[in-house]
């Protein structure tokens, strides 16, 4: 597993593969993930549809801690410093991957919009 955002000494990440969602091809996992997203109160911070509230939007194509499968897994498992709780202790690995499937299934802008007012 790579931890690029944690590796500063020497700038060389440890040799390892990237984490990839093992449920990416499981068509039901996104629907399961939507239920988990709500039942674990993710929507309380990230908003219904993950469009953002106190916490950032997860569907606007912009990522603070990386948008790869592995980065999302880490964000959910270990938490992030400004309030994202570490769900590693209460969510199974497959539940985390289902949430990631749900986020991936949301419609995303083709390009990240850069104009606020038109």
């Amino acid at each position: 597993m790579r931890y690029p955002q944690h590796v500063f000494a020497g700038g060389n990440p440890p040799p390892a593969g990237e984490l990839a969602n093992p449920l990416a091809r499981d068509s039901g996992s996104g629907a399961d993930g939507e239920k988990i997203f709500s039942s674990m109160n993710c929507d309380g911070c990230h908003g219904g549809g993950a469009t953002g509230w106190v916490g950032p939007s997860l569907v606007d194509g912009r990522w603070r801690y990386g948008g790869s499968d592995g980065a999302l897994y880490q964000s959910i498992f270990y938490g992030r410093p400004r309030g994202m709780p570490a769900y590693g202790g209460i969510l199974s690995s497959s539940a985390i991957w289902k949430i990631i499937s749900y986020i991936r299934a949301q419609p995303k802008p083709v390009t990240v919009p850069t104009e606020t007012f038109k």
Binding site: G44, D60, R62, R82, P85
Partner: protein, 551 residues
């Protein structure tokens, strides 16, 4: 005191600035706090020093008002846990400090109260009062009555078990903890309280729902030294889905009167029983004495989120006046003899009731508790910001996971009738009627200060700081301060003998969530405009500026 005095009048006895000369007000000084975010609360001037607390990370600045440019005497940098930022429901704000016994006392967002030597900036004590792992954060301004520091938590959206605590002023030690619901022993109910109606903190709930029933204390506190009672509002019950907590849910959405020495509960009054709309009652309880119904009464006046302004007898809690100051649809009136609202049951919400439309006010409140009102004994009027918003409310079942949101409703807003989303009003609390009103395009979320020169000050979300004639509501002056105003102005006499007015600019609080793309320091956080106020972000972005104005 955060609210100027024990009564939280926010009345300044200074009279150099008048309706005749207010148009000559000009900026004297400004200072960037270095923090972007909701600058709620107010600066505190003690002698010739001005103290400013920033939002997270809760820096405390002490400015020397005797020297040119008001340089810093010192700066206090507390160690605050950044995890608290995500536990704060609605921006990492702070509502200010209190001065007592040579100490500046304020709360850090992460559940600590600190006392700092007002002269040297050295930390005197630091006490953990709240637990962020349970969803508690602490942005409110502490209050001091006698030798007790009174503090409470936020977390009505996190299923906390709400409380207030009394700390020893000298040491910071927690002397008492009083819960706002639950068994009488934990609520510190006196035997004679409620005339034998004991157990209300459990019997008005179902099962043990009170244990996660919210009831935060994030607003302002007042004190009547003669009656020896502190008054504070209790916030919403959790979750927002009321079907998970059948019962009146006492004492959420209530005012409680307690003894500051030992915290014991003397009386309580519930503004919104079995809340179905997130109508927290954390707004200030302003203390005043005036004639109501032909008799001089000792009253408290409270502008509730539910849209009614209440005038209560502050010795007993008797409802003397309760009239709407904003557009209200959830209730027809308040029955003064029972104290109960006459609820329009078509506006009652719940997971089984679908999406309930046309509820006014919205959960931002007819007035936000974050926007404290002012009272002038000269005019006899109260001055307050108001919101003119309505909402629909779709409740859903929700499970509590400690330290995560426990909300259970989606509540989009729409503008209320009249074309303006807010206003600033003068209110006659003896008769329960509006005396004048200045309509504003956007909701008004600032506090106010009124002076002996009969000038009242407030700010707007689109970044104007304004002065109006306290008697007529005539607008006298305005200045664009660089970011939306959600703080409360103060007026003070400088070491040079002149009258000044200070205000924070820095949009945030709920408006961090609602104003769209006002955050420009984070490339990963670009927010779409709010449906009901799509162009607010054309007028403001985040900021953090302290302004001082003078003649």
């Amino acid at each position: 005191m955060p609210g100027k005095d024990y009564s939280a009048t926010r009345f300044s006895g200074l009279s150099q600035i008048t309706p005749a000369n207010a148009s000559k007000l000009r900026p004297i000084w400004s200072f960037s706090t270095g923090v972007l975010g909701g600058h709620e609360g107010q600066p505190l001037v003690v002698g010739s020093t001005m103290y400013v607390v920033t939002p997270f990370p809760n820096v405390l600045y002490a400015f020397d008002l005797t020297r040119e440019g008001y340089p810093l005497k010192w700066k206090y940098r507390p160690d605050v846990n950044p995890a608290s930022v995500g536990i704060a429901c609605c921006d990492a704000i702070n509502r200010g400090a209190v001065y007592a016994d040579g100490k500046i006392i304020y709360n850090l967002l992460d559940g600590h109260t600190v006392a700092v030597d007002a002269r040297s900036g050295q930390e005197i004590w630091k006490t953990q009062i709240a637990d962020i792992s349970q969803g508690e954060t602490t942005p409110m301004a502490p209050f001091v009555a006698g030798n007790r520091v009174i503090v409470g938590p936020s977390g009505g959206e996190f299923g906390i078990y709400g409380w207030v605590k009394g700390l020893d002023l000298a040491t910071g030690k927690i002397v008492w903890t009083a819960h706002n619901m639950g068994p009488d022993t934990l609520m510190l109910v006196r035997p004679e309280t409620f005339g034998g109606g004991a157990g209300l903190g459990t019997s008005t709930w179902t099962g043990d729902s009170w244990r996660r029933g919210g009831g935060p204390v994030w607003g302002w506190i007042t004190y009547d030294p003669q009656l020896d009672l502190i008054y504070f509002g209790v916030g919403n019950p959790g979750p927002y889905n009321p079907e998970q907590r059948p019962g009146e849910n006492k004492w959420t959405n209530s005012v409680l009167a307690r003894r500051p020495r030992d915290g014991s509960l003397v009386w309580g009054y519930q503004f919104t029983p079995h809340d179905s709309w997130d109508y927290d009652s954390n707004a200030e309880m302003i203390l005043a004495d005036f004639v109501v119904g032909g008799r001089l009464r000792k009253v408290l006046v409270h502008f509730d989120k539910n849209g009614f302004a209440y005038t209560l007898d502050r010795a007993t809690g008797e409802v003397l006046v309760a009239e709407p100051f904003a557009h209200v649809t959830w209730a027809k009136s308040i029955n003064r003899s029972t104290g109960l609202p006459v609820v329009d049951t078509t506006k009652t919400t719940g997971a089984s009731r679908g999406n309930v439309q046309g509820i006014c006010p919205s959960l931002e409140g007819g007035k936000s508790p974050a926007s404290p009102a002012a009272f002038s004994p000269r005019t006899g009027l109260f001055y307050t910001a108001t919101n003119n918003l309505c909402m629909s409310y779709q409740a859903v079942p929700v499970t509590r996971i400690p330290g995560t949101p426990y909300i259970g409703a989606a509540t989009p807003y729409t503008a209320g009738p009249g074309g303006n989303m807010g206003s600033f009003i003068a209110w006659d609390a003896a008769r329960g009627r509006k005396v004048w009103e200045i309509k504003e395009k956007f909701p008004v979320w600032s506090g106010s200060v009124v002076t002996a020169g009969d000038v009242v000050f407030y700010g707007t979300l689109d970044g104007w700081f304004k002065a109006a004639d306290a008697r007529s509501g005539r607008q006298l002056w305005k200045f664009k301060v660089g970011s939306g105003v959600v703080g409360a102005p103060i007026s003070f006499r400088g070491p040079d003998g002149k009258q000044y007015v200070a205000i924070y600019a820095g949009i945030g609080g709920d408006w961090f969530l609602l104003s769209g793309d006002v955050r420009s320091d984070d490339p990963a956080d670009v927010r779409p405009p709010a449906d009901f106020a799509p162009d607010l972000a054309r007028h403001t972005s985040q900021g953090g500026i302290v302004w001082i104005f003078g003649l």
